[in-house]
């Protein structure tokens, strides 16, 4: 299971924490999709809904963090999130979230396999590839030395002419 930390995307940090929210366009689109066609949402309600979602993220991460600490792990994992959902009374979300977890793990596995396959498809073992790399380095080195040697002899010729 991957434990590496996601790098932070570029952007302002520090004081802007309190204003951190979910993208307005995304929220608008999602709310539109989820609302029945015969009802509308007021702008203020939409904003409140967005704030509620952010609050939900805080709640869920805090609880997942607690679960993580209780298990004496250092990294909040997907399992911690799922346990947190159940602890918070959102157990009906668990099946779908678990399904996403499975899909994601599958995709990661497939990506790793594709990487290995590419290596295998080249028809060479890792050993052979390393050897190939060494040979290429040796060739490049030899070429460079040749060029240096060439320029040296050139300057010698110029000196003798003076």
């Amino acid at each position: 299971m991957e434990e590496d930390d996601l790098g932070d995307a570029g952007g302002p940090s520090g004081g802007a924490d309190e204003e951190l929210s979910l993208p307005k366009a995304t929220m608008q689109k999602l709310i539109q999709e989820m609302m029945p066609k015969d009802l509308q949402v007021s702008k203020e309600a939409r904003e409140l809904i967005t704030e509620c979602c952010v609050e939900f993220i805080h709640l869920l991460s805090s609880e997942a963090n607690d679960v993580c600490e209780r298990e004496q792990r250092k990294t909040i994992s997907g399992d911690h999130v799922i346990k947190a959902l159940k602890d918070l009374g959102f157990e009906d979300y668990a099946p779908e979230v678990e399904a996403v977890q499975k899909e994601h793990e599958k995709e990661i596995k497939q990506q790793r396999e594709r990487k290995v396959n590419r290596l295998q498809d080249s028809g060479l073992s890792e050993e052979a590839l390393l050897k190939q790399q060494e040979e290429l380095f040796a060739q490049a080195k030899a070429k460079m030395e040749q060029q240096l040697g060439g320029s040296q002899s050139q300057s010698q010729v110029e000196q003798s002419q003076e």
Partner: protein, 114 residues
Amino acid sequence: MPKAAKKTTFKTRFPAARIKKIMRVDDEVGKVAATTPILISKAVELFLQSLIDEACKEARDSRSKKVTISHIKDVVQGKDSFDFLRDKINSLPQTDVHEGDVSPVKNKKKEREQ
């Protein structure tokens, strides 16, 4: 805004990097596995749907065509698992309760009321 290089092509409705930033507001949150923001994104989606469904119920019960803050307030007060939103709801200024009426858009309904 530059996006973090994505290691996976897994599509979530909410940007994983943003979710992680929001998580990080809590000082206690430390390292986060790559799959975590993805699962949280899904959970938020489900929460959003749930909130909207309940709010629509309230709107229909009050024979309103528009979901307003007042309806959301009712939802939060009526559902145990939405406890965590009580403080936010209670701190709303009273005037917003009727904000559905102060829409600048003139429509037939308003004219009828006048």
